[in-house]
Subunit: 334 residues, 2 copies
Amino acid sequence: MDRSVGIREVAEAARVSVGTVSNVLNKPDRVSQATLDRVLGVMDGLGFVRNGLARQLRMGTGTTLGMIVLNVANPFFADLAHACEAAGERVGQTVVLGSSDQLEAREDRYLDLFEEQRVRGMLVAPIDGITPRMRQLRARGMPLVLFDIHGDPGFCSITLDGRAGGAMVARHLIETGRRHIAFLGGPRHQVEDRWLGAQDVCAGNQGVRLSHVDTRDQTIAEGRAAGAVIEAMAKSERPDAVFAANDLLALGLLQALVLSEDIRVPEDIAVVGYDDIDYAQSAVVPLSTVRQSTELLAERAIELVLAESNDPEHEHQQLRLPPELMVRDSSAPR
Amino acid sequence: MDRSVGIREVAEAARVSVGTVSNVLNKPDRVSQATLDRVLGVMDGLGFVRNGLARQLRMGTGTTLGMIVLNVANPFFADLAHACEAAGERVGQTVVLGSSDQLEAREDRYLDLFEEQRVRGMLVAPIDGITPRMRQLRARGMPLVLFDIHGDPGFCSITLDGRAGGAMVARHLIETGRRHIAFLGGPRHQVEDRWLGAQDVCAGNQGVRLSHVDTRDQTIAEGRAAGAVIEAMAKSERPDAVFAANDLLALGLLQALVLSEDIRVPEDIAVVGYDDIDYAQSAVVPLSTVRQSTELLAERAIELVLAESNDPEHEHQQLRLPPELMVRDSSAPR
DNA sequence: TAGCCTACTTGAAACGTTTCATCTTTCATA
DNA sequence: TATGAAAGATGAAACGTTTCAAGTAGGCTA
């Protein structure tokens, strides 16, 4: 098969002009049925594939969105990317994905690449806030929506409301009769919003005690260690509920508690996590947790980036989405 | 800032020809230091960004590879995609990712999109084998490497050797003194290679018994159910090792066994999984498993696709990579 | 029959690069 | 003082599309 069969070769073979072939591709209704059929037939026969690069070059704007996440291998971002792809498809955009791997150099590389490829817009989960490179992009008119960064009026952004999530959990625990909630997680600044949310609610409830158990990071191992600490407490000192800053911590804690002889979940201690990772509902005791709907997040992000692309004068929006509480066995009422 | 600042605007402002500007970009050594500096300065001042589309259109070949996976949200593919991105970067290629979501329509959509965008080559994990569309792509000269499909001489492909993995596990269990191995997993055809590998080894070892416990699918819940079945067996009938077809099954089984009073892991029953998912090493008893190195897989896949791209007459290769056994506590010798 | 509308079709000009055959300048050498 | 080579700079052509003003038939109306 000849290497380059373009619109011109098709035109020649079908004995029409290139303009007509182009019309077949883009405005079939302006072409007579006879020519349409003939041209389509020739395309098939020659194995014509339209060159998207040339097309986009000429048209000035394409149909591709660039997305940069911290790490595709992180389930949350994998889900988010997936959801964005799906949401993009629904409105005829194709999302291509890059993973910055938490390296500034790679973040910049993808920003450059996408700008050179003239993507229609970008969705970015920044490694470390808004960089000068991003401001420059905006200044040049590139539509840009940020994840998990809040408040800068020069950008569209979209965040999950951790404070609201923390409040939800605390409210749920109190309503199901718990009186001493231990918040499990650290380092402090990484989990602050969830902690504050819990505090908001507990402060307003007489007779409810909220304590804080710090961790170095948020892994299963740390959760298990915390479990040992709680087990070693005098019964009277033990909390009757633990709100873990993420699911991994909660799962580790669960492992430790379930193996202990004298603590039952949820009867003696309720456990709630955060993130709703896949394994949460398959845990020994299915884990109550807070779900951050990636579908909704994605939908809104795509909306925002397209709005920005369609109207350069568009007013930036900072969205903050509420999460959703998933109640499972680990925090069932006694 | 003016909307379109191209090579021409730069040339004008720097009082040189467009050819020279292009040389500054592509062959800086053919330009005198003075002009180089001046042009670079102007580019910076004007905020010039080279148009990758036009460049690629003119050059005929780009630096982008298309990759299609079954589902980005699946940790294995997320890892694989991640590894491919990294491997691609090392050789100056950018990998863009699409997720077929197990839908033929989306698989086709990405194949079309990538072909229109004139990617340099594609890496595809096919939903359901080699489709006519893929043969057509190959026939038109598109470099194409398939994951997890074996044997078709018309394509480059790269597979993980499940039979070798199964054999490894069986050998390991026998060498550490186990005599009755239960293979846990189904439906049969999805796990056949691992089963056959185990069989190969057991058949050659006198006094070793291999039985099969079927499951409907490969989830934690199924694993837990299987645990209950084993617990209910008479002690004399119980296996002293379980080889689970994947980690989820193994984790579920582990949950069930650990909670039971009279079975200890690994003393009474050793458990080995398959895949080495993240949670495997954080399980209550860290899980022995078989690791499929995505790094290696990715490296080879990129090599293959580039080889095919550089030499159209290239001989297709069908690679089969051996997995790696990760021994952890769950199969420690007694 | 002239005039006009409709329905298609045409071909050249862009889009922003890279490439390459030429041209210009400079400078060392015979 | 020629001669030639080396180094740098030039500008038109090409890449494969879309767009659009202009052209051609054919048929309908008056």
